[in-house]
């Protein structure tokens, strides 16, 4: 039986990612959590396009059932957006670390209060 169990697992993974983003005090780890959050959203999308017993959406003679190509296209774009965000965030972290000497949220806030 195919059901929605995959969706439960994906949601659980998604929420782990979100939890890491919100709960971590370390900026770098937040970023890692963000990527987990995004990956699980990608899987949710792709799971929407699966057709039982179908082939990947590359037209071939003799095949008449294909998976839905649209989610694939969207997620290709989303993956690119994800890596772009990550690169930018890492550059920001490099600057923050150099300016403050720490990436811990509480420590950062404390440093600006003295200033």
């Amino acid at each position: 039986m195919n059901g929605v169990a995959h969706a439960w697992l994906i949601v659980a993974l998604m929420m782990s990612g979100l939890y890491i983003v919100m709960a971590s005090a370390h900026l770098f780890k937040k970023l890692i959590g963000l990527s987990v959050f995004q990956v699980s959203v990608f899987m949710l999308y792709i799971s929407l396009g699966v057709v039982e017993g179908a082939a990947p959406p590359i037209v071939e003679p003799g095949v008449d059932a294909y998976s839905n190509p649209l989610p694939h296209v969207l997620i290709l774009t989303a993956i690119v957006v994800g890596i772009a965000t990550m690169a930018l965030a890492l550059a920001l972290l490099v600057r923050i670390r150099r300016a403050y000497g720490t990436l811990d949220e509480a420590a950062l806030a404390a440093k600006d209060e003295d200033a």
Partner: protein, 493 residues
Amino acid sequence: MSAAWLPVLPVVAPLLAAPLWLVVRRPQVAWWGSMAVGAVAFAAAAALLVTVLRNGPVDYAFGGWPPPIGIAYRIDLLGAFVLVLVSGVSWVVSWAGGRGVEREVDEPRRALFFSAYLLCLAGLSGMVLTGDLFNLFVFLEISSLSTYVLVAAGRDRRALPASFRYLIMGTVGATFVLIGIGLLYAGTGTLNMADLAARLPEAFDRRAVHTGIVFLIVGIAIKAALFPLHHWLPDAYARAPGVVSAFLAATATKVAIYVFIRVVFFVFGAQATLEALAVQHTLTALAAAAVVFGSWAALRQDDTKRLLAYSSVAQIGYIVLGLMLADVAGLQAGLTHLFNHALMKGALFLALVAVVYHGGGQRLSDLAGLGARMPLTAAVIVIGGLSLIGVPLTAGFVGKWLLVEAAAAKGAWWLIAVVVVGSVFALGYVGRMLEALYFRAPAAQGGAGIAEAPLGLLVPALVLAAANLYFGIDTRLSAGLAGRVAAALGGAG
């Protein structure tokens, strides 16, 4: 140039110009070039508005593929109205870019700064024009990524964590939007907004659709900095280079609210969304909280840019309050205030750029005595501040009147009370700025006499201040158009 170019130009012109400054790394050239591109985008937007006013909505199918197969623009009066606002204000603000970056952005970053500016403008314009949900996400990300760069481009180290925090919150918001789009797609099989609107009624009892709508709205609310999802805003605005603050305050949150209107009223259908999902009550309560909390927080700030930023949180509350009345009068009020607030905050932040340029800091005490030393800059702050309070003959009055009238017509007395409380607080925080400007002696004995900001900063600030007065008197383009848009929306919702 044929009319077929018009829908494409506001987005594609800045997109194609932005990479130039990666190759030609001369700040002055980049600035002049960006102003020229901004002018083109604004002219195209204005021409679009005229076209829409004459001939009705404009449809544009990219790649020649008809929607929903391909991506399409659908530019109605609302879109054209917001596009003119966004491209117009960002153009005027960009005039200040040349002098503005001198004191606040290091030399090697200056040319790239203008690239990011253009990309952000293109992203925002794309969000306004597009009729496709996923395309909306893509342009949202273009504008967001470039915004993070702009915020962190300055010299203030505090901008770095502010930008990072914004990046995290913004990405979570964008991902929420993505989840929402996915669930809506799962429920209806389409990404085109008009198509979705047509297919939603039969799919509306699906839970995936409900959840999708909620995620989409929450994601947009983060971008719009609606209380209590506003945490990224005060620091981002306060620490960014001044020109960026002016640009963002005038455009970014406005576009997010525009997207909200588009999605809720055009796509989901106001009735269904607002009532069935209890969205109306929730958002009204949050917006009211935004007004009270934002104004109160603004009152407690010693940093002028943070003060204005918290005031923005409150003003977003006013706009959403109007929208959530969900009738023609309320929508008109919300849209009018959206328009006017862009002018107020643009003028005020630019005036602060001029103050900072002169070596003044951004604390309230740094404004002391500037009424005499920088009379024109101070006048801009006075006009912007009065407009913020909602004094007659300024643009702010028109929006406030319409909001109170819409509330009174619905008998929402408590809402009027909220507006009143917000206005009284606004009186307080604007009053503190004015008092410092005119009736406090400067702390340090600087040179006496007039030391006005350079024209490059003064002119755009004065233009926006004049716009505050102009639209306080001639309301055809602000309240008038907003009324027409609202009437159209009211018919659709």
